[in-house]
């Protein structure tokens, strides 16, 4: 159950099976799938010398090249391929589709292939972006994709289609025919669960796998049951980079960073290529700082070593090691630049202070003291508007049902400090999207006497790190599922059911997963032998993209009656 390996395996198969000079032809959606798991050099080593987009009309004719097309079978891509085959640029064509292709599309393609250039037509189900071995995303993000249809409980038709195909591709690439469970209260999760079950039954022969001891579980969750996790400031490396800078298809844009060296304007974070990153991606920034320091020291000692070249044999060694050395020095400067930018950003935005309150709001019931510090932070000019909004949202989510809450007065206070109306309206949208009424589990443990007692008990235990106390709701759900104690009343099965403890679990989060959850899944995988979990979602959220999606959705719900109106500006921090 390793999604990265599964996708790599598909791609290696594509480029390995055809000998000779090759060009790889991709479309807009398969490009990120490949770039997440393959490097230029690994493609080159398989004689794949050119990579191009099928929607690029100005490709030169090179009949001596063989062409490997890896496309999503969308109408656009099929149309482009039809035009390509009518007047082929290359010698041989090997067509690989990332999902099931319709009979009629095959017929259409066959009709135009008068030159008989097509050698092969295959379906390889690499139809998702594999980020970590146990983390994938369908990359359904704004502005191209909208998740919600006419209301917050209804799928957008296209998005649902894409998600069903994506989930099926994950199952097929991992060879799993799962039993499906979903979050009862979520209409979207239910719809998806039924749709996936229907498709599995439709595609009977494809899902004919050998029996396993206990059937794998596909668990479909909804983001709105845990709106807190994507709102919190993150302190572990991968999550923090995504929260503050954004990771897009394995790349981080540093071009806004002051005084950045030109070669570091855009950097690649790849587990496969970068052992330092692989080792430290789940560590918090404190431990990371120490590790970077020792990494730098290691580099310095190596430079020193190369400084005192005393003999020719020393030098010979140096010369031979030099490429390796260069690689190391490039990597060191990359991580140093990244870490120093992270520390600059969190210092600039006073995130330590903000995060402490965030964690307290997320974990403990301490109304009066938290309110006091919240009001203080709203007054403070050193805190960004985005942080203020996030804090008030967290406060409103927790104390929504509390008698003594002062949400309205907090909103007034925000107004007074010049926070714009469209940002403030997000607070209401968030309550509508995922207030108590929308959540099925007692997220804050404050809905009954018993759970209140428990959270008080939790508070007494004491914590080791103030900034990383919060553990996402997903972790608890998974723990229960592994023990076979996840209640069927809250997480019902669609179709067949089982009482066995699951060994392989595939989670799909409607509305997007987060890197914090990915880290917890990795931890569970490492600490629980015999259990393998893969997490995925419609996209990977940070607080900005999450709030943006909510803002966009509610904007469109309001606009559905009256078409006119100005779109609110994008929510998010300005970098400079």
């Amino acid at each position: 159950m390793d999604v990265v390996k599964a996708v790599q395996n598909y791609i290696n198969k594509m480029v390995n099976e055809v000998p000779g000079m090759k060009v790889l032809l991709l479309d807009a959606e398969t490009t990120p799938i490949i770039s997440n798991v393959m490097t230029q050099s690994s493609l080159l080593s398989h004689e794949t010398y050119l990579v191009d987009r099928i929607d690029n009309r100005n490709r030169d004719r090179m009949r001596h090249l063989k062409c490997i097309c890896f496309l999503r079978p969308t109408t656009d891509s099929i149309q482009l391929l039809v035009e390509e085959l009518r007047d082929p640029c290359y010698g041989d064509y090997h067509l690989y589709f990332s999902n099931t292709i319709k009979k009629s599309s095959i017929e259409r393609l066959a009709e135009v292939d008068e030159q008989e250039v097509v050698r092969e037509v295959q379906e390889y189900f690499a139809d998702y972006c594999a980020i970590n071995p146990d983390f994938y995303s369908l990359n359904l993000s704004l502005p191209q994709h909208h998740l919600y249809g006419d209301s917050k409980h209804i799928w957008d038709g296209k998005a649902l289609q894409r998600v069903v195909e994506g989930v099926l591709a994950v199952l097929l690439s991992l060879k799993k025919k799962p039993l499906i469970r979903y979050e009862r209260i979520s209409k979207m999760a239910e719809k998806l669960a039924h749709e996936v079950l229907y498709q599995i039954q439709e595609e009977g022969p494809l899902f004919d796998f050998r029996r396993t001891d206990t059937p794998p579980i596909l668990l479909i969750l909804d983001r709105r049951n845990d709106p807190v996790t994507p709102l919190l400031s993150q302190w572990t490396y991968q999550a923090m980079v995504h929260e503050l800078l954004g990771i897009h298809n394995g790349r981080v844009d540093l071009s806004d960073v002051p005084d950045i060296r030109p070669e570091l304007k855009e950097i690649v974070l790849s587990r496969d290529q970068d052992p330092f990153y692989k080792k430290n991606m789940y560590l918090n920034i404190g431990d990371l700082g120490a590790n970077i320091k020792s990494y730098v020291e290691e580099y310095q000692s190596k430079t020193k070593l190369s400084m005192n070249i005393e003999s020719i044999s020393d030098m010979k060694r140096f010369v031979e090691e030099y490429p390796e050395f260069r690689k190391l020095s490039g990597n060191v400067s990359k991580h140093v630049a990244l870490a120093s930018e992270l520390s600059r950003l969190y210092e600039k935005e006073n995130l330590l202070e903000v995060s402490e309150l965030e964690q307290s709001l997320a974990c403990y019931e301490q109304h009066s003291s938290d309110l006091k510090s919240l009001q203080k932070l709203i007054e403070s000019p050193n805190i960004s508007e985005e942080s203020k909004i996030r804090l008030v949202i967290l406060y409103s989510l927790r104390y929504e049902k509390s008698q003594s809450n002062v949400i309205t007065s907090l909103i007034d206070q925000l107004h007074k400090h010049g926070v714009s109306e469209h940002k403030i309206s997000l607070i209401g949208s968030m309550i509508q999207y995922s207030g108590t009424e929308q959540r099925q589990d007692d997220l804050f443990s404050n809905e009954s006497i018993f759970s209140k007692g428990k959270s008080a008990f939790k508070g007494l235990k004491g914590v080791e790190n103030v900034y990383t106390q919060h553990s996402p709701h997903l972790a608890q759900t998974l723990e229960l599922l592994i023990k076979g104690k996840l209640k069927e009343t809250s997480y019902p099965f669609v179709g067949n059911s089982t009482k066995d403890r699951p060994q392989d679990i595939i989670v799909f989060m409607v509305g997007g997963a987060t890197y914090e959850e990915a880290r917890h899944v990795a931890q569970i995988n490492a600490s629980t032998p015999g259990v393998r979990i893969v997490l995925g979602g419609t996209t990977v959220h940070n607080s900005d993209s999450f709030l943006n999606e909510i803002q966009d959705a509610f904007y469109r719900f309001q606009q559905s009656g009256s078409p006119a109106g100005t779109r609110p500006p994008k929510f998010g921090r300005s970098r400079r």
């Binding site: 050099s41 001596h64 759970s451």
Partner: protein, 615 residues
């Protein structure tokens, strides 16, 4: 930037407050460590427990008390702690019933030492699944798991993996798997048994990374053949017509054309020709068509005139029939006459139908220079790929047998293979450079050539650089021979210590035999090679603005230059400088490939960005 980081760690304020993440597990484990209880009893059934963690599991499995729910499971309305108290209360209130139940279980538990995977599964398996293959217990058994060296006792646990039968400690034999009576994996009918990690993972398909693939090639070809037959028929029909046209032109034009060469064919001929053309294909009536069927432009009397395609007979406009197909008899028959005997008007569709296939085949059969060179490149690559492992085997063999004698057959064979490999590598490099320098007709072609060059460099970096290290083995032995021959370590000293080399060189000059001179030349060649290498690095490093590196490299270069001069002088005293320069230049030329190679290879690792950036 780096120094600032090492001076003051910007994360110290955080790292002070952050250690590891609080997990339930770690806390419990540490509690175990502190208490260090050898034995404790279950408070409910008085069963002896090895450790606190086992007690937790026992409570959870046998008495259904879940201490984990203390800090997890928020959706359970009744809180874990209270649940625990309630359970305890109920069991204390009815001690007899629970005790009785456990006493019944006890003997079995004693045999199996309490399976904490799940007690229910255990009860079944003890009767059904065979134990014939179990490893015999001993007093000093060790855990079979290769990463674990615990001795098996009451504290660590001692379990037979139900599948392979070997003995393991508790933590390495606790995975559940379904087995049948013969202790074989049976996912359908089997009973849950505890097995070791290896058995668990070696289940068929468990570590499979190969996803589902579905081929539609046959369906595609089926559909295509249908369409292709139609297209073929159409193409053939048009070709036939073309043939006929050519014959008509040939018979009609040849006698008259000869007599009135240079003049336009007379009207009568035109008429006659038109008639015969129309006999081949029926022409469409002018009046029935008001606009061009291909481009939809309106026909007029004067401006956009009607034309007939001679192949299909349709009326088309000037623009869409501007392709004149030249007729020659070779098209249809095997005559040697290759000259065109005229041109006919044809519409776009007909032209494509007739010529597309032909053009495609022609383009395929033409091999551009890149392809030729590339084929050569690949040939050399396969040669290298076959000899390289052989050579490595040889080296290992030489090393293991400690053959240092140069004259030994194996040694010489290895040396020859090495030379062969180096030649191949040099050729490989040369061809890849040639490909890169080919004249490109377009940007894409240039990109293709550059990529091939890059890939070739990558290949060389992977395979040739290790080879450069390996020969040291041979060379070392080589040098050793010289030691023995001359009892003079000076040539090697020259290599190793050159900061106080002056004193050494004096000693070298004292032992100037013919062979000594040879070795000095070899040193010089090596030095020169190093010099070019380092110069390349300096250029590279300055480009990358890595001034630290540049400094280091520069000092190295200066020292090298001093050394080269010294060696040159030395040679000059022994023999004519001309001979030395020729030898050095020849060696350096063969080796310069390697130097440029490694400089490009260094930039390669920076090249390793994702493809998406390319697009």
């Amino acid at each position: 930037m780096m120094s600032s980081l090492s001076d003051s760690n910007p994360f110290t304020n955080l790292s002070a407050s952050s250690n590891s993440f609080p997990t339930n597990n770690s806390q419990r484990e540490s509690f175990d460590d502190f208490t260090n209880i050898e034995q404790c009893l279950c408070p409910l059934c008085n069963e002896p427990m090895v450790s606190i963690s086992q007690l937790y599991r026992h409570l959870s499995d046998s008495h259904d008390i879940h201490l984990d729910s203390l800090d997890s499971s928020t959706d359970q309305k009744d809180d874990g702690f209270i649940q625990l108290l309630k359970k305890a209360q109920s069991t204390i209130l009815n001690p007899l019933s629970s005790k009785a139940k456990n006493i019944a279980k006890l003997p079995q538990m004693a045999i199996n030492k309490v399976n904490d995977v799940d007690s229910i599964w255990l009860d079944e398996q003890s009767d059904v699944v065979t134990k014939i293959h179990w490893q015999f217990e001993d007093d000093n058994d060790l855990c079979t798991n290769s990463t674990c060296d615990k001795s098996l006792n009451l504290r660590n646990g001692k379990y037979n993996c139900r599948k392979c039968g070997k003995l393991f400690c508790d933590s390495h034999c606790r995975l559940p798997m379904r087995l049948n009576r013969q202790a074989l994996h049976d996912p359908v009918e089997g009973i849950w048994c505890r097995v070791c990690d290896d058995c668990f993972q070696s289940r068929e398909g468990y570590l499979d990374t190969e996803g589902v693939m579905r081929s539609h090639t046959t369906t595609f070809i089926k559909y295509r053949t249908k369409g292709i037959e139609r297209a073929h028929l159409e193409g053939n029909r048009l070709e036939k017509r073309l043939e006929k046209l050519a014959k008509v032109y040939a018979t009609q034009s040849s006698p008259e054309n000869n007599s009135q060469s240079g003049l336009k064919p007379s009207l009568t001929i035109m008429h006659r020709r038109r008639a015969s053309e129309q006999s081949i294909v029926k022409w469409e009536d002018d009046a029935s068509v008001s606009c061009c069927p291909l481009c939809q432009s309106q026909f007029g009397k004067m401006i956009n005139r009607r034309h007939h395609c001679r192949l299909c007979g349709r009326v088309v406009c000037e623009k869409c029939s501007s392709f004149k197909i030249s007729l020659n008899l070779t098209n249809c028959s095997e005559t040697t006459d290759n000259d065109s005997i005229g041109e006919v008007r044809a519409c776009k569709t007909c032209r494509d139908a007739v010529f597309r296939r032909k053009e495609y085949n022609e383009e395929i059969s033409k091999t551009p220079p890149v392809v030729m060179l590339y084929q050569k490149l690949m040939k050399i690559k396969t040669a290298i790929d076959t000899t390289l492992p052989k050579f490595q085997d040889m080296l290992i063999m030489l090393k293991s047998q400690e053959i240092v004698n140069q004259t030994h057959a194996d040694y010489q064979l290895a040396a020859r293979t090495r030379k062969e490999l180096l030649d191949n590598f040099a050729q490989f490099d040369a061809i890849s450079k040639k490909i890169n320098s080919l004249l490109a007709r377009s940007k894409t072609e240039k990109r293709l050539q550059a990529s091939i060059h890059l890939a070739a460099n990558q290949y060389l970096q992977q395979n040739m650089l290790p080879l450069q290290v390996l020969p040291k083995l041979l060379k070392k032995e080589h040098d050793n021979d010289y030691y023995e021959d001359y009892h003079d370590s000076s040539p090697d000293m020259l290599l190793s210590v050159f900061d106080n080399g002056r004193t050494r060189t004096i000693s070298t000059s004292s032992t100037k035999s013919l062979k000594g001179e040879e070795t000095i030349r070899q040193q010089l060649a090596v030095l020169l090679e190093q010099e070019t290498l380092v110069q390349g690095y300096i250029v590279d490093a300055t480009k990358q603005r890595k001034f630290d590196d540049v400094k280091t490299l520069k000092t190295a270069l200066d020292e090298l230059k001093v050394e080269i001069n010294k060696t040159r002088k030395e040679l000059g005293t022994t023999s004519s400088t001309s001979s030395s320069s020729t030898t050095s230049s020849s060696t350096s030329s063969t080796l310069s490939t390697s130097s440029t190679l490694s400089t490009t290879s260094t930039s390669l690792c920076d090249y390793d960005f994702m493809i998406a950036t390319l697009l």
